[in-house]
């Protein structure tokens, strides 16, 4: 039997429940791999017969403990993730047999070395350059090495066949996730951005891929049914200003960003970034003959993340998403001291300028200190978008 952490009794009920759910997996003898980001090749974890669970820290609570070992001026996600492992406060980290990290940023890259002292952590090295010729072989090599580590850890054999099978299942999951974003393409949207976010985060609640797929399918069906009956989140003649959220590490901040924007009368219609629409649309090649590690590397090299430089492919994706989702504005959200996304915001602001839509950059963390400030900024942004939409309409009318 798997044992629970020492302070289990002090945890809130919801967390206790999650602990017990992962414990049930462990009691069944299942292997669990903790993952952090979209670069983590779930297909390989599936092929190893293991469950993947998300470990990203999304709350303020474990941060003070983490700061006893990490610099205070560091991204809150990194601190919270490490703090959770250090203090046994996260059920998923606690029950993970192996952790898969990725070199998405300097902070994480270095933190994973420390995490490795608590749990066996394999850090997949990502290339820095998005050019296939320069980078794809290196990433494929890293995926092969990761597979080898899982084979050793779990005493299993990962065959190409098993990976090919996992690729098909995970592609279905991607197609479904893209369908969730399609709900936002409607005008008015058939789903709120806040609920979209919630569905995207459901990895945290459902370990079983099939179970998650069925539940999500039902949610999409219900959304469309309500929409067709004129009972969607917006009235049929309501046309809220449409916003794309871009950035990373949005989990843990949506209550003071997405929610406030929608309370102020805006609608988040799509997300851009690692878990955004373009990432979901890009499937892994399903080939019975090609090296599956290469198929995976080609796909994962295209995850829209600021780790890549120069990141012009991401800017093209943003242009296309703005057009397709007919966005009135774009908000870049990143966590405090996240250099890759923080710096890239400047070039995204230029893309928005070129597309003629307002842009706002928000840097935040998991604390409550900026809640009221963010509410005000969101309200002001919605006002700005309404004015900009009206001005565009007036201009079009004048041009006949």
């Amino acid at each position: 039997m798997a044992t629970l952490p020492e302070h289990f009794a002090e945890f809130k009920e919801s967390r206790q429940r999650n602990f017990l759910r992962v414990k049930a997996l462990k009691d069944r003898g299942e292997n669990v791999v903790g993952t952090f980001c979209q670069y983590s090749p779930k297909e390989i974890i599936d092929a190893a017969g293991a469950y993947s669970v998300g470990l990203c820290g999304k709350s303020q609570e474990p941060i003070p403990l983490a700061e006893t070992k990490l610099p205070a001026n560091l991204c809150p996600l990194i601190k919270a993730s490490y703090g959770n492992a250090l203090g046994d406060t996260c059920p998923y980290a606690f029950f993970s047999d192996v952790i898969s990290g990725e070199t998405t940023c300097d902070g994480k890259k270095k933190m994973y070395r420390m995490l490795n002292e608590i749990k066996p952590t394999y850090t997949i090295h990502l290339p820095n350059h998005p050019d296939r010729e320069r980078s794809v072989e290196a990433l494929a090599d890293e995926f092969r090495e990761f597979a080898k580590r899982l084979e050793e850890a779990f005493g299993v054999t990962i065959t190409d066949e098993k990976i090919r099978e996992a690729i098909k299942i995970r592609n279905q999951e991607r197609i479904q996730a893209a369908a969730v974003y399609e709900l936002g393409r409607l005008d008015p949207p058939a789903i709120t951005g806040y609920n979209m976010r919630h569905i995207m985060d459901s990895d945290d609640y459902y370990f079983d891929v099939k179970e998650k797929y069925e539940i999500t399918d039902e949610v999409i069906r219900q959304c469309m049914e309500a929409y067709n009956q004129g009972e969607g989140p917006y009235k049929p003649d309501e046309h809220p200003v449409r916003v794309i959220i871009s950035g990373a590490g949005l989990g843990g901040t949506e209550d003071k960003t997405v929610k406030f924007l929608e309370e102020a009368g805006g609608a988040v219609v799509c997300y851009e970034g690692c878990s955004g629409i373009v990432s979901r649309r890009r499937l892994v090649e399903e080939s019975e003959t090609k090296d599956p590690y290469l198929c995976l590397a080609e796909k994962y090299l295209e995850v829209p993340c600021a780790v890549m430089s120069p990141n012009s492919p991401r800017f093209d994706q943003i242009r296309r998403t703005i057009d397709e989702w007919r966005a009135d504005g774009l908000i870049c959200i990143n966590l405090h001291s996240c250099h890759p996304f923080g710096i890239e915001a400047y070039n995204i602001s230029r893309v928005c300028e070129e597309k003629g839509i307002p842009f706002m950059h928000i840097e935040t963390d998991f604390s409550d200190s900026d809640v009221e400030q963010l509410r005000t900024r969101m309200e002001a942004f919605v006002e700005l978008l309404k004015e900009s939409r009206a001005a565009k309409a007036a201009k079009e009318a004048a041009n006949g």
């Binding site: 070199t103 072989e137 090599d141 890293e142 990141n311 400047y346």
Partner: protein, 354 residues
């Protein structure tokens, strides 16, 4: 006139440019004067070196940015890597991809490919041919410069050290910013010889009682006065500069007669002990070696604000120092003078404990 190339980071294999008859100088600003300008495009909470460098480029006053035929960046740290995407729009720019670590199966093949691609890029862009012979010659010249730097730094192995850190640091920085390798080599050798001769003649510029401190961490050009100098003003003696412009890159040696000279260049540069690597084994190994060689009693780990590679690595460096039985202090700072008094107090107290 020879073509001029501005480089940012020690991982750039300068020999490739020099073999093409070009000259290389180091960029990477050490002054705060254009930081406010850079903050119009960059986050404020960012490493001062990254901000100051973009600021210098934006201001258009720096002669290297104005005159360079090429600026070369590297994917070393997040801050620089992403800043280059903004800088790269303003100047002729080339990006070298540095692997995330040295010990993986992919690391060396990727790095060697990057070095080969750089060679091809130079040849194509500037219409030149880089021969193996020219590369070997460039390696010899750079080896001589690196050895001159090592010789100069070696005077500090003496007990007490043979020089104040200022003298050595100024000479190293001058060499870093000079495009003339031979002249720099000559100057460094002359200075080393002077210091050696004076020491042998009985000159003791450093007190025998001065505790010996090794400095490690981020590039220190912009924070030298309030950190390294503070050690010596408080009675310490800085015996080793384990930083980019100090021993970290100067310890590189390349065999000019290696059968595959490009491979030899690539394999030497990848061993530079920077904290960007995962794991940073080369950094740790070198630090251990230098603590012993220079017989340091304390390690001062200087980090620039939000340089996550180095700030997080302090966790491992502190442990390394403890394991070796030497004292350890880390200071996190930037290019502003506001923390000067505080740093002086902390560093003074540190020297006191030694």
């Amino acid at each position: 006139m020879d073509k001029l190339v501005g480089i940012f980071c020690q991982y750039t294999p300068r020999e490739l440019f020099e073999a093409a008859g070009m000259r290389t100088v180091t960029l990477g600003s050490v002054s705060s004067r254009n930081i406010a300008l850079a903050e119009t495009r960059l986050p404020k909470n960012l490493c001062p070196l990254v901000k100051a460098s973009l600021g210098d480029c934006m201001a258009g006053t720096d002669p290297v940015y104005r005159n360079a035929d090429l600026i070369v960046g590297e994917t070393g740290c997040d801050g620089k890597k992403k800043m280059f995407e903004i800088l790269g729009d303003m100047v002729p720019f080339y990006l070298i991809q540095v692997p995330q670590g040295t010990d993986r199966a992919y690391s060396f093949p990727m790095w060697k490919k990057e070095v080969c691609m750089l060679k091809e890029y130079i040849e194509k862009t500037f219409g030149v041919t880089i021969t193996d012979e020219a590369l070997r010659e460039a390696v010899r010249r750079r080896n001589a410069l690196r050895q001159a730097k090592m010789r100069l730094m070696d005077v500090q192995v003496n007990k007490p050290a043979a020089s104040a850190a200022d003298v050595i640091f100024d000479a190293l920085m001058e060499a870093e910013y000079s495009p003339d390798i031979e002249e720099s080599t000559c100057r460094l050798n002359t200075l080393a010889e002077e210091l050696e001769t004076e020491y042998q003649a009985g000159s003791r510029p450093v007190s025998k009682a001065a505790p010996r401190v090794l400095v490690t961490g981020c590039p220190i050009g912009g924070v030298y006065a309030k950190t390294v100098r503070a050690v010596e003003e408080n009675g310490g003696s800085v015996v080793c500069l384990d930083s980019c412009h100090g021993i970290r890159a100067a310890s590189v040696w390349i065999d000019p007669q290696a059968p595959d000279i490009l491979e030899a260049i690539a394999s030497a540069y990848i061993q530079i002990g920077c904290a960007i690597m995962d794991p940073a084994v080369c950094r740790a190994d070198q630090l251990r070696r230098y603590i012993r060689k220079y017989d340091a009693a304390g390690v001062l780990d200087i980090t620039l604000q939000t340089c996550h590679c180095y700030t997080v690595d302090t966790y491992f460096m502190r442990r390394l120092a403890e394991e070796m039985g030497v004292r350890y202090l880390t200071v996190d700072t930037d290019y502003q003078p506001s923390d000067m008094g505080q740093l002086n107090t902390r560093i003074g107290a540190f020297v006191e404990t030694l």
